[in-house]
């Protein structure tokens, strides 16, 4: 029989109790266990960053973390970035405005990575932003729209603060 554990994890503010196989990655658990398919598996070896989620606010690759490791922790996925009424977050809006996505597959990982980054680095340079997403591969956009979106949000946040 497969080795399993009971876990309790809060995902996007909602708590879940689940019995998971110990070998199941967090990404697979979110996608197939909870049906949160917004988190995408791109390489499953920790380089492409498409599967990035936030665990207790830190950007984490959900292909390299086991589901059991999130027991007692809080996970935020791309589905948790917008307001409850569906209003997109400022970063999501900026991606839309700056054409920061094409096929949309790397987008959830870009959004979660940058959400955590901009919270901790509210006034980044273009170089900072490029370094921040150097662990997220995008094959479509050439990154420019993504970088512009992040800088635009940072600028707006600065004005607002």
């Amino acid at each position: 029989m497969a080795d399993t554990r009971d876990i309790e994890v809060t995902v996007n503010g909602e708590s879940h109790a689940a019995n998971v196989e110990t070998r199941t990655s967090l990404g697979d658990f979110l996608r197939h266990g909870l049906g949160l398919t917004g988190t995408h598996m791109g390489c499953e070896h920790g380089v492409c960053g498409a599967c990035t989620v936030m665990v207790d606010g830190e950007a984490v690759r959900s292909c390299l973390m086991l589901a059991v490791q999130t027991n007692g922790h809080e996970v935020t996925t791309v589905e948790g970035l917008a307001e409850d009424d569906g209003t997109l977050s400022p970063l999501q809006e900026a991606f839309w405005k700056h054409h920061g996505l094409q096929c949309g597959f790397c987008t959830p990982g870009m959004l979660t990575s940058l959400t955590a980054f901009l919270r901790d680095n509210p006034d980044p340079s273009e170089r900072d932003v490029r370094e921040a997403i150097s662990g997220n591969i995008c094959r479509c956009t050439g990154y420019q729209g993504i970088v512009d979106a992040a800088l635009d949000v940072a600028k707006t946040m600065q004005k607002g603060s």
């Binding site: 398919t37 791309v78 997109l88 959004l111 990154y143």
Partner: protein, 779 residues
């Protein structure tokens, strides 16, 4: 009326749901009773299969079935179909969906396990025992045609798949009257697909209901439907193929794969839906790639640098099978003579088998290779004659007053290649301005004074886009007044929904958000071709425009009757037909639609066909030729061989831009793909055909941290070949990029006399060239 949205930077309509995590890619789809599959793949590049024992795998808890070639029975024992037969294919080889008795590349499908989960199916793979007899493998295209080369398949007569040639003008005469003849030989390597979403398939077979349905991450659902129906010997009507959201395509998802057959058969055998999602390791060994081409060219020119002729020989790596006909070698030759007026060309290609993943187009197909070859030879002329690279180009361009210009080359399908419109020299000047080309020498000298090595490289290209025959659109107004728009063309992120909604909405007089867009489902539109070769805008654009115009005409005619007004006095705005000057008199498109889709016992107004809809297959009456000039500025560290791209400037002309924001995204993304080809992406095999680059630590893709900001400017020279004046834009960023980067590196390292004869230009290779140059200088 008006095409109000054409040319506007409309934010994409597909984005909000993708941004919120509500995309629907293949792996996001689940079904009641669905099982999961994993493939056992060949571990050797060439081997005989003596026997397969799957008994232990079958016993594993959660495993439902292990399927091999022998389990498929006589009806399904044949090889895959050749999608693009061509007379030049001397030896055709397509693979079996599951290998029969010989494997010819690492990664070839051998067996498929069906289990309760993907993890269990993968566990079971390790329990299948295959007895292989290793055979010698051929990997190097430079020696593949030698008499003693191992054969890629046991029953080939040689590794020559076929030969092609592009020949026009009087080549002998050109070389005889030339002041100079220069030669150059170089290898080109283009990497793989590496869409962030790997491939994936779900098959459901319902013989008493819908028939066979496939959800697949693909660019050409109709091609898959036909290929699958043909292979199964069944009616196309009983096969439905749907491409849902697709996470990038770039060419390799435009074909037909063994997994699509094997998963269909697995669903049929298991009598339940079966899903297979490719993992990234499989992507490296089983998704088609482009890889090596060797070019050996001579250029004939006058003392002033006017090119008179180009001749030579190409060796093209085909990989182990021929899934895609001769599309790649063909599209490598078609772009010759590039943006230049070269009176005579004679270039032949040997297409050779190797024991590696089969070949398919990757962004641009052969065009980046053909353009690179031309640009390299222009560079050679510039260097040997000491004429500025920009000036050599000016002296050779096809001039705008020569349009339409017939090059002498043939397009796929045999039609003559005719440059329809454009001003290549003006475009170059725009690129030079954008890049501050004229002040580069000062920047270079200032940097050199600090011990830094800067270089600049120029490259120009043409791109044949909008390949026919058509890509149709249906526009139908429904009772709510919303407008259903359907086309066959699949999107992999190009923004088709937005582009088509803009065209239809502007033409019909509704808001873009009132468009209900559906595409890439063979059950919902009669026939489509595919999203390849920058062809959708130049084909769906005109068909959407025409279908919307027809619906508009019909609506106005009917409204004129209902409102008892003259058609000439009517206009449609926000879905409402109004009479000019009589603001109270109006009828909505929805109400008009109801009149043409009545309930029982009611009548359709006399003189009108039922349903407020129209279908059009209007497209481009030839290949609109897009063009571009790029300037790359790099810094090279001669100690480490590191290349930094400091600036990258693009002047591009894809005719009338439907949505400049989307075009910009295509160009920038394309450039970065091209920079990846030039500097990073390399799929390496050892001499036994074992792939050595199997993850993103070993195979390098361009990252945000290494990429420059790409500056883009446009010209809009309308194409005369379609109703909108548009040309394709999907690949024009990629095509000229490698040539610009390589020229810039050489320019930076001029004092070391570095001549690059291979890309990607990695640091090790570059330091070797620099060291060689230093030794030569010392001698």
């Amino acid at each position: 009326m008006g095409v109000r949205y054409l040319g506007a930077e409309v934010q994409r309509m597909e984005d909000p749901r993708l941004l919120a995590g509500h995309g629907r890619y293949v792996d996001d789809i689940t079904m009641e009773g669905m099982l999961h599959a994993a493939f056992l793949r060949a571990p050797m590049a060439h081997a005989k299969i003596r026997s397969i024992d799957s008994s232990r795998a079958t016993e594993l808890l959660g495993v439902h079935r292990v399927i091999t070639h022998a389990d498929l029975g006589a009806k399904y024992s044949h090889r895959m179909n050749q999608l693009y037969p061509a007379p030049v294919i001397e030896q055709d080889k397509t693979q079996y969906p599951l290998a029969k008795d010989e494997v010819c590349y690492v990664g070839e499908t051998v067996a498929v396990v069906v289990a309760d989960s993907r993890a269990i199916a993968e566990d079971a793979l390790a329990l299948i025992e295959v007895d292989y007899e290793a055979l010698p493998a051929v990997v190097n295209i430079r020696t593949a045609l030698d008499d003693d080369a191992p054969l890629a398949h046991a029953d080939l007569s040689s590794n020559l798949m076929g030969k092609m040639r592009s020949s026009f003008g009087d080549i002998e005469d050109s070389f005889e009257k030339a002041d100079h003849v220069f030669s150059a030989a170089f290898m080109q390597h283009r990497g793989g697909c590496h869409s962030m979403e790997t491939r994936g398939v779900i098959a459901r077979d319902d013989p008493w209901g819908d028939g066979l349905t496939l959800w697949t991450s693909a660019q050409s659902p109709y091609l898959i439907r036909r290929a699958l129906a043909t292979w199964l010997d069944e009616s196309e009507e009983r096969v439905r193929v749907i491409a849902p959201d697709v996470g990038g395509g770039f060419g390799p998802k435009a074909g037909f794969y063994p997994e699509e057959i094997a998963i269909s058969l697995a669903a049929r055998i298991m009598k339940c839906p079966v899903k297979w999602i490719e993992d990234r390791r499989e992507h490296f060994v089983s998704t088609t790639t482009q890889r090596d081409q060797h070019w050996d060219l001579e250029v004939a020119c006058t003392a002033e640098g006017k090119i008179l002729g180009l001749r030579g020989k190409v060796t093209h790596e085909n990989g182990a099978y021929v899934p895609y006909g001769i599309l790649l070698p063909n599209s490598s030759l078609t772009p010759l003579p590039g943006a230049y007026s070269i009176p005579a060309i004679d270039v032949s290609v040997d297409i050779v088998f190797t024991n590696t993943v089969p070949n398919s187009p990757v962004r641009g197909a052969g065009r980046p290779c053909g353009i690179y070859a031309v640009e390299r030879m222009v560079q050679v002329v510039s260097r040997e004659l000491g004429i500025d690279p920009a000036e050599v180009r000016r002296r050779n361009y096809v001039r705008s007053d020569q349009m339409p210009y017939e090059t002498g080359a043939k397009l796929r399908g045999g039609a003559p290649c005719i440059y329809d419109s454009g001003d290549y020299e003006a475009l170059l000047e725009k690129a030079l301005d954008l890049s501050d080309y004229n002040s580069f020498k000062e920047r270079q000298a200032a940097a050199r004074a600090e011990g830094r090595y800067l270089g600049i490289g120029v490259s120009s290209c043409i791109e044949d886009t909008g390949m026919g025959p058509y890509e149709g659109t249906t526009v139908r107004v429904e009772s709510s007044g919303k407008v259903a728009v359907r086309t066959g063309a699949a999107s992999q992120g190009q923004g088709h929904h937005t582009m088509i909604a803009m065209i239809v909405a502007g033409n019909l007089g509704v808001k873009p958000e009132d468009i209900l867009f559906e595409s890439a489902d063979t059950a919902k539109f009669s026939h489509g071709i595919g999203t390849i070769g920058s062809r959708v805008a130049a084909n769906v654009g005109p068909s959407a425009h025409d279908a919307a115009s027809q619906v508009r005409e019909k609506a106005l005619k009917l409204a004129a009757e209902v409102l008892e007004a003259s058609e000439a006095d009517l206009d449609i705005e926000d879905g409402l037909v109004r009479v000019n000057g009589a603001p109270d008199l109006s009828i909505s498109l929805g109400e008009l639609a109801v009149k043409l889709t009545p309930m029982s016992a009611m009548r359709v107004p006399t003189g009108f066909d039922p349903v407020l809809e129209a279908t059009s297959f209007d497209g481009s009456s030839g290949a609109p030729i897009a063009c571009g000039s790029n300037v790359a500025e790099v810094e090279v560290d001669p100690g480490t061989g590191e290349v930094k791209v400091l600036r990258y400037s693009v002047a591009h002309d894809c005719g009338v831009m439907i949505n400049p924001m989307v075009v910009h995204g295509q160009i920038v993304g394309g450039v970065v793909h091209g920079i990846g080809n030039a500097l990073f992406e390399r799929m390496i095999y050892d001499d036994q055909g074992q792939p050595l680059t199997m993850n993103y630590g070993e195979y390098l893709l361009p990252l945000a941290s290494e990429m420059p900001r790409v500056d883009v400017t446009h010209m809009e020279t309308p194409s005369p070949l379609n109703s909108l004046g548009v040309k394709g834009a999907g690949e024009g960023g990629t095509i000229p990029a490698a040539a610009a980067i390589v020229a810039a590196i050489e320019n930076a390292l001029e004092e070391f006399s570095v001549e690059i004869d291979y890309y990607p230009v990695d640091p090790q290779y570059l330091t070797e060239l620099i060291d060689k140059g230093k030794v030569q200088a010392a001698e």
